[in-house]
Subunit: 213 residues, 2 copies
Amino acid sequence: MSELKFQISISLDGFAAGPNQSEEHPLGEGGEQLHEWVVKLAAWREPHGKEGGEVNASTEIFEEALDNVGATVMGRNMFGGGPGPGGEEPWRGWWGDDPPFHTPVFVLTHHEREPLEMQGGTTFHFVTDGIESALAQAKEAAEGKDVSLGGGASVAQQYLAAGLVDEMWLNVAPVLLGDGARLFEGVGAGVKLEQLRAIEGPDATHLKYRVLS
Amino acid sequence: MSELKFQISISLDGFAAGPNQSEEHPLGEGGEQLHEWVVKLAAWREPHGKEGGEVNASTEIFEEALDNVGATVMGRNMFGGGPGPGGEEPWRGWWGDDPPFHTPVFVLTHHEREPLEMQGGTTFHFVTDGIESALAQAKEAAEGKDVSLGGGASVAQQYLAAGLVDEMWLNVAPVLLGDGARLFEGVGAGVKLEQLRAIEGPDATHLKYRVLS
């Protein structure tokens, strides 16, 4: 059965992004520290067009995220709410001509537009009628494979609070941000978890849970 | 050199105690779930006068807490702000005649009183002039061994925020409390951590950090 799974990097004090998110700081101030563990990995660098990188205990986490994924859901900012780092025009997102998803991607937005077909199997579909609709469309498109929740933090929060997440990997970076977007803000005490795995990477600890209710 | 170390159990959403702490719920509502991993352990049960229990991957965490400890600091509630579970008179704390510390214990309180000598090497000293004084007295008493911070959550928070903690084990229970006492509340972005270890226990994941600044 198609499940909704996601991975997200958080600080030890629970923030998925730092304070004062802006075009200059899409991850908020200090937020880039949450992702240091992943940008070092050869497994991340290769699909992002970068050379080199490490293979370490965190590699399997990153690879598992791509495993058995038939569709992706993400927020508008994740698609490319601001200008991309390479100077691409904003309306094609900031993922370049050949985005690393290679699946249909359902982008939550308030603005209707036609689907945008990219190279390599990625097509962006724009969904204006909410998270449940986006998930239903993604599950349909996934044809029995899983749906990956791409982020950002507020989208992950919304799916968690709605009880729609099945599994999650939390990549806990050894940093305190003190302020910003809390992953579990508004996700109440009603959510029960099953601890599935824990892996110590060199630059983050990876905790995997199944959301039971 | 004498260091300040502590262990604390927190929920995945960062709470060291649930909401509405009271005499009936000293750990707040739902807070007892944070400690399920430890009360199962034979290593915990034996010094608390209980039979049976498990030996599992979490055992070494609990045992390490007692290792090389020459003195203990704790808050007044931890000493026994309310009636003890065994019906002991409150003024002798709720740890029984032979408390499991076997060291000098410095209790943060607003009420001066004489030291209270118990069986087994535990003497409670009552400190009214703040956390730095309590730590200085504990380090003196520890004679080169480490000082263990016994809790509760608000005391751990105060020592963290003051930058006085050297090492900590966070025992992360697979539960969301949604509300309560956040361990890292008010502990700002200035605190840098070094990730030392991660251990997957059956009922909690244990994360060890050194506080660098």
